[in-house]
């Protein structure tokens, strides 16, 4: 059985895929590593027979390799069904287990909606949650964070980087600030893994939410890094797998896939990241010079190397994404009109943008199968798309000089 190459498939369909933040193809090498675990090495790691022993060996081997990628000890990795579950376990599990120390949790305003909703759940269940603001570029200010710490604070949750505007948080500085305070630091690392080094031996975070797909591994799998000595209560109860922290038979094939994905990144990240950065930089440069009234959201330098997030005056995001789709280009937007809630991106509003500006946002994220030629394709389409939508708009002429 052969696995098709994502790059070839996209080329055959004539699609420029620039939405790697939403979903990444699984690397065919990862798929190949997983396949034996469906039909040959299918055992349950909890079984006492030889088939089960083989599964245990494969599970612990994979755990060691995933741990290595994040500078962790194997026993600090708990496999989950994804980063969302990892964040539930981290935040709810930590808060419940450590309630006697205090009832106050701090999160940043830039967090992914999954973290915002977990925080709301805690509030409904008797905890107090404070949100720390971000600056113009989306960064959490350690100073503002410090001002919000109280004697009751037990946990701080700040993402490693924004899934949306790609801004990298000063997570090292925040970790240092909390060192010795007894306050745990959780970080949602999904937007950063595979793009910048995440080394738990260098940055003293307590808990890290990780996703397999963001490493080009299978979806439906993630992991929580739990620093040795950090106490977390399980939120999913059952047979006591994963040292009691995450019950349910381990998804061995996917776990092996995540390990294979991490191995590939250890070998290739050094070359892959500069390549993506060059593609991204080229797009940013061309958009800002060739399209009038275009702005870059987020920070110029302190951002994920694959992320380009723009806003265009007088144009609405969903209309841009639809128009680009017609030309075979897959991109994303933070406009309300594409969301279920009809609210524009909370991150952009927290950065200080007005609603009408947040509506005009367009996000490109590059990945393993992106090519320099993708920028040429995007730039062959985008200026025309924006000019056309502006020509339909009663707004554009009124916001800019004639």
């Amino acid at each position: 059985m052969s696995v098709s190459d994502p790059g070839e498939t996209l080329a055959r369909q004539d699609i420029v895929y620039a939405d790697y933040q939403s979903a990444k193809p699984v690397d065919p090498r990862v798929v190949a590593a997983m396949l034996p675990y469906f039909t040959e090495k299918f055992g349950n790691a909890a079984s006492l027979h030889g088939v089960g022993d083989a599964a245990t060996a494969a599970l612990e081997n994979a755990r060691t390799r995933v741990a290595r990628f994040f500078g962790a000890e194997p026993k600090e990795i708990v496999f989950t069904s994804g980063a969302t579950e990892a964040s539930n376990l981290a935040i709810i599990g930590y808060a419940l287990r450590n309630r006697r120390k205090g009832d106050h949790v701090i999160i940043s305003e830039a967090e992914h909606v999954s973290i915002l909703n977990i925080a709301k759940y805690l509030e409904k269940n008797g905890f107090r949650v404070t949100r720390v603001p971000i600056d113009l570029y989306g960064r959490v200010s350690p100073k503002k964070l410090r001002a919000r710490i109280t004697d009751e604070t037990i946990l701080v949750s700040v993402q490693w980087a924004s899934t949306e505007i790609g801004t990298e948080q000063p997570i090292g500085e925040i970790a240092e600030l909390l060192t010795g305070s007894g306050i745990a630091l959780h970080s949602d690392a999904v937007a950063a893994e595979g793009l910048v080094p995440i080394d738990t031996s260098a940055v003293p975070v307590s808990l890290l939410s990780l996703s397999s797909n963001d490493l080009y591994g299978p979806r439906g799998l993630g992991a929580l890094y739990v620093r040795q000595g950090v106490q977390v209560a399980p939120v999913l109860l059952g047979g006591g797998q994963e040292r009691g922290l995450r019950s349910g038979s381990e998804d061995l094939a996917s776990i092996v896939g995540m390990a294979a994905a991490a191995d590939i990144l250890i070998a290739e990240m050094g070359a892959e990241v500069p390549r993506l950065r060059a593609i991204r930089d080229r797009l940013v440069e061309r958009v800002l010079t060739e399209i009038p009234d275009a702005h870059l959201n987020g920070h110029r330098e302190q951002r994920m190397p694959n992320n380009a997030h723009f806003r265009f005056e007088g144009v609405e995001g969903e209309a841009m994404v639809l128009s680009l789709r017609d030309q075979g280009i897959a991109a994303a937007t933070g406009s309300a009109c594409s969301s279920k809630t009809l609210e524009p991106s909370h991150t952009l509003l927290s950065c200080g943008l007005l609603h009408e500006e947040a509506h005009g946002s367009l996000e490109f994220t590059f990945g393993r199968w992106s090519r320099a030629a993708d920028v040429e394709r995007i730039m062959a389409a985008l200026p025309g798309v924006i000019a056309r939508l502006r020509s339909l708009s009663p707004l554009y002429k009124t916001t800019t000089p004639a």
Binding site: P133, D135, L136, Y137, K144, A147, R148, G314, V315, E316, G317, E318, A319, V321, L322, S323, R325, D326, S335, A336, C337, S338, S339, K340, L342, P344, L349, S350, C351, G352, L354, H355, E356, E357, H359, S391, L392, S393, P394, L395, Y396, T400, P401
Partner: protein, 269 residues
């Protein structure tokens, strides 16, 4: 259903919208609804002859369904009597497009409202230039606001903590990379806002009016600058933990309150 799961007919109208543009002349009226804040705004122009729609054009800022519904209605009512055109509803437009995603039925299906507004303006003799001066009032929420003079709460608490009553030239660099909101108090405030754009990428000139109360020369200078104008906005209260972080704002057009993120608020004396 995803917001983008449009019918082929909707996509076709989005790709090739009919009757885009404006109309001029003595027999023309326009209806404007929506608001850029909500993400949708449209103008529908009608030319009336013998109580019938002789010609119709539109301009729309918004998502796929906002564009498609505008285009669709211009086809539906071409040549209709005004009374018949008034009977064309949002539902009729959605039906003509063979359906809209449920989430789009209310927020981005304003074309019928814009048409009705245009007919009303025609009957009341409201000229196009008067009808398009401001964002429409029938957008996300239909009540236009009463402008009231309101004191800004907690001003004194932020003295030296984000509130500036004056900014000397040598103090401008202190505001580097800050989100600065300057309250429109005339040309001096506008000039300061423009000077600030050399130091930070984010300068908002907030005015309670429909545009800044500045001289004509200053207005054109502002247009060419990177100053973002926030019109019909009344600051109500300064908020923040120890220092200014947000401004509670009354949107006078929508009669809604929201919070605007800001690091500095300039209220010149």
């Amino acid at each position: 259903m995803k917001s983008t799961q449009y019918t082929e007919k909707t996509l076709e109208h989005f790709r090739n919208p009919r009757n885009v543009g404006t109309l001029e002349g003595p027999n023309v009226a326009v209806g404007r609804v929506g608001n850029p804040v909500c993400g949708d705004m449209m103008d529908i122009y009608i030319e009336v002859e013998n109580d019938r729609i002789k010609d119709i054009k539109f301009q729309t800022f918004g998502c796929g369904s906002a564009v498609a519904t505008s285009s669709m209605i211009t086809e539906l009512v071409q040549g209709m009597t005004l009374d018949d055109a008034l009977k064309v509803s949002r539902g009729d437009v959605a039906d003509a497009l063979e359906g809209l995603p449920p989430i789009k039925m209310h927020c981005s299906n304003l074309a019928a409202d814009a048409l009705h507004e245009a007919i009303k303006n025609w009957r009341e003799g409201i000229k196009p230039e008067d009808a398009t001066k401001t964002p429409g009032g029938t957008a996300c929420h239909p009540t236009p606001a009463a402008v009231a003079e309101i004191e800004i709460a907690k001003l004194d608490e932020y003295e030296g903590k984000g509130l500036y009553r004056r900014v000397a030239v040598d103090e401008l660099p202190q505001l580097a990379d800050q989100r600065v909101v300057v309250l429109d108090t005339g040309d001096r405030a506008a000039q300061l806002a423009m000077d600030l754009t050399d130091h930070t990428g984010r300068v908002v000139l907030m005015t309670t009016g429909k545009g800044p109360s500045v001289s004509a020369a200053m207005r054109s200078a502002l247009r060419l600058s990177d100053v973002k104008i926030l019109a019909e906005a009344q600051p109500l209260e300064l908020l923040g933990e120890g220092e200014l972080e947000r401004i509670r704002v009354h949107d006078l057009n929508e009669d809604e309150e929201y919070e605007l993120t800001a690091d500095a608020f300039v209220l010149l004396e």
